[in-house]
């Protein structure tokens, strides 16, 4: 519990500084925070039915952005646009512009393999490969040829597990199957696996929804630690979690982006009545 409060306290401090920065952006002056991903008029159709309507959202670099909203509101769909995982769904069409570092992700000459190496993803349910812990983490670097020899690969695996806070728990059993770990450990293994390819952005789709509170606290701590190196977008159903880990929040409802802003502002003085109702638990 102390850990939770600590994290929250820190988050609030950073949020305070964040607010100023964002105000400056809104004032049209020089922005100290870059926007890693800029979405403009993004719409998604699933075989004719529209799931997302004209989303305009900026994802600031090296910050945690939380996407909140009731089930089926399109936040996961939006998340999956950022690494084009929607491509794998038959009949799914994405329109609008989604720029990452000034390049349109949706453009046909973007290589999805390269894009997904730059934009890692952690899923709702921990999904380690049914291979050893080592092989789970080493898989990404191996397919992308990131390590020139086995020593380098060992180094990457070590570093990734350490960053994911899992090294001490698994260092003696790297060759045991990843599926034998507890749920929380599995999810941290998945984060280590995503980190191992050194992505710029990490997308997290409700990473704690299948975990108990202690494992959740560990993941949240971890997110807070790694955010200085990565741009993180997290979808969450937990209002408290959004408040604890994120600096920016976007509220989705019925496929539309209702409100966006700093987490502090969304949670303390939301402009829209629906946001107000949702965060106070009146619906959702």
């Amino acid at each position: 519990m102390f850990a939770l409060q600590d994290t929250k306290g820190e988050a609030l401090v950073t949020q305070a500084t964040q607010t100023e920065e964002t105000t400056i952006i809104q004032g049209g002056k020089e922005a100290p925070v870059n926007n890693k991903v800029v979405a403009k008029d993004v719409a998604v159709h699933y075989s004719g039915a529209q799931a997302l309507f004209d989303i305009d959202l900026d994802i600031p670099e090296r910050r945690v952005t939380a996407l909140i909203g009731p089930s089926g509101c399109g936040k996961s769909t939006f998340l999956r646009c950022i690494n084009r995982m929607n491509d794998t769904i038959e009949g799914c069409a994405v329109s609008g512009s989604l720029m990452m570092d000034g390049v349109d992700i949706n453009s046909s000459d973007i290589d999805v393999v390269e894009l997904r190496a730059r934009v890692g993803m952690v899923f709702q349910k921990p999904n380690p490969f049914p291979k050893s812990i080592y092989d789970n983490v080493a898989y990404g670097p191996r397919i992308h040829g990131l390590a020139s020899d086995s020593t380098e690969l060992d180094e990457i695996v070590h570093r990734s597990l350490e960053k994911a806070g899992l090294w001490n728990e698994v260092k003696d059993r790297l060759l045991e199957p990843g599926t034998g770990l507890s749920g929380g450990q599995q999810q941290r293994l998945c984060i280590a696996r995503a980190i191992a390819v050194s992505p710029e952005v990490i997308l997290m789709d409700e990473p704690c929804s299948a975990l108990d509170p202690i494992a959740t606290a560990k993941i949240e701590e971890l997110i807070d630690e790694i955010r200085e190196n990565f741009t993180i977008v997290i979808v969450t159903h937990s209002m408290q979690q959004a408040a604890r880990v994120s600096q920016h929040t976007a509220f989705f409802h019925l496929g539309k982006l209702v409100e966006k802003g700093t987490t502090e502002k969304i949670f303390t003085e939301p402009e829209d009545q629906r946001t107000q109702d949702y965060i106070t638990g009146r619906f959702g």
Binding site: E90, V113, R116, A117, N127, F129, Y139, I143, T179, V197
Partner: protein
């Protein structure tokens, strides 16, 4: 308020109670149907095994008769030079006959002598020839040897020919029975394990016939079937499941593959006859053609099993790999295929077991021919186990009946083993996600 609530609860409970009896009765009825169905299936299986086993077990032993055989140099090696080609063409049947005459000197008439010679199989001479060629020094010596009895004597001893039958109605005559009894009394009749059944090819003489030719033929045929249908089937399954876009054409192909699995096997035989024999002029009766035809039949089974196995790999594994930047091919070959492999192998083994037991299409391409030699390769004429069963079931000799059952037992043994391997694979590699 509370009393009306109580009443409501009570009436609900009463309604539930009223229905309970009926529900339990339905459950018991259903259980009874299930047990009855299983009992019928087990009974059928037991009847099948008992009837085949009781008919066939005697085929695993073979009657032999002990005779003093004199390797007469004037008959075996008239030139005295011990030349192999002379030795191999010598009159060994005459040697056997001479031994029989020496054993029963009282038999004089031509007719009786012919009957006497009928005690020993016509194949006994070949055994003597093999002995002489292996060791020519036995020429001129007298040896006590166990010779293969004819099928009639064999059947008499195994009780398949009754002594009570009228003489005219049975193939073995009264004096032959008398001689046999005399031999038995002398301890000159034995029924050891029938090695020939597992080492020889087919023969017109039941006591000389074996299933080794059919086993080897089945092996070559299955080899061709597996090498063709497994890679093709798995590749097609991967393509259809992982790469093909959902389109009308894909649906059409899918429907047709399912149809292909349901095509009667004889139709594949006709196809083989028309295409492989008449058009490509491939060899008749050969395992290569049989294998190709059976591969066509097994191929859809492997595709269907393969697709089902790949479908059962959880999408989260695909997403995890794709999310890391694995290409589609990498997702399939690094993750989906290894996880689906046990399922694919199970399907393949079951498909192969079906192909192993298949007869109809092979009849169409000439594998039903009478083939004595054990095949040396996929292009040699050959028979297969189920066709051997079919051939022997058709033969008039009484002794082929037990051999038919014995072959069926061997074939069932192979099939049960294959299915057991499939079940074991499935159990061993079953994954919990």
């Amino acid at each position: 308020m509370s009393s009306s609530n109580e009443m409501m609860v009570n009436s609900t409970t009463q309604k539930i109670r009223a229905g309970l009896k009926k529900r339990y009765a339905a459950e018991r009825r259903f259980q009874f149907y299930g047990i009855a169905g299983i009992s019928i299936a087990i009974a059928a299986l037991v009847i099948l095994f008992v009837s085949i086993g009781s008919k066939g077990y005697t085929a695993f032993v073979q009657t032999h008769i002990k005779l003093e055989v004199f390797f007469d140099p004037s008959k075996v090696d008239p030139t005295g030079e011990r030349k192999t080609d002379v030795l191999s063409r010598a009159d060994y049947a005459g040697v056997v006959k001479a031994s029989l005459r020496a054993r029963f000197p009282e038999v004089k008439s031509r007719k009786d002598k012919r009957r006497l010679y009928g005690l020993i199989s016509s194949g006994a001479g070949f055994d003597l020839r093999d002995m002489v060629i292996e060791d020519p020094s036995i020429i001129g010596t007298k040896q006590a040897l166990w010779l293969v009895a004819s099928d009639d004597v064999d059947m008499l001893l195994k009780g398949h020919i009754s002594r009570d039958t009228e003489e005219d109605a049975r193939p073995i005559k009264n004096n032959q029975i008398a001689w046999t009894d005399q031999l038995i009394a002398d301890g000159a009749v034995e029924t050891p394990f029938n090695k020939r059944l597992f080492t020889a090819g087919d023969s017109r003489e039941p006591e000389l016939a074996g299933i080794w030719g059919a086993i080897v033929g089945s092996f070559y045929t299955m080899l061709v079937t597996l090498t063709l249908s497994f890679p093709l089937g798995v590749a097609a399954a991967i393509y259809l499941e992982e790469f093909a876009h959902k389109s009308k054409l894909a649906t059409l192909i899918e429907v047709n593959i399912n149809n292909l699995a349901a095509v009667p096997s004889i139709v594949f035989g006709l196809l083989g006859l028309a295409v492989f024999l008449n058009f490509f002029h491939m060899p008749r009766s050969a395992p290569i053609v049989g294998g190709v035809v059976l591969a066509l039949m097994t191929f859809p089974t492997i595709i269907i099993a393969g697709r089902a196995a790949m479908k059962s790999v959880p999408p989260s594994i695909r997403e995890a790999a794709a999310g890391l930047g694995a290409s589609r091919t990498q997702v399939v070959f690094h993750h989906v295929l290894p996880l689906a492999m046990p399922g694919i192998l199970t399907g393949t083994i079951i498909g192969m077991a079906r192909a192993l037991g298949e007869t109809a299409p092979l009849l169409m391409i000439g594998m039903v021919a009478f083939i004595v030699d054990v095949p040396d390769g996929v292009t040699d004429p050959a028979s297969v186990l189920p066709v051997q069963v079919y051939l022997w079931a058709d033969a008039p000799e009484r002794a082929f009946v037990e051999r038919t059952s014995a072959t069926t037992m061997v074939l069932l043994g192979f099939l049960v083993t294959m299915n057991a391997v499939a079940v074991m694979l499935r159990k061993k590699f079953e994954r919990r996600w």
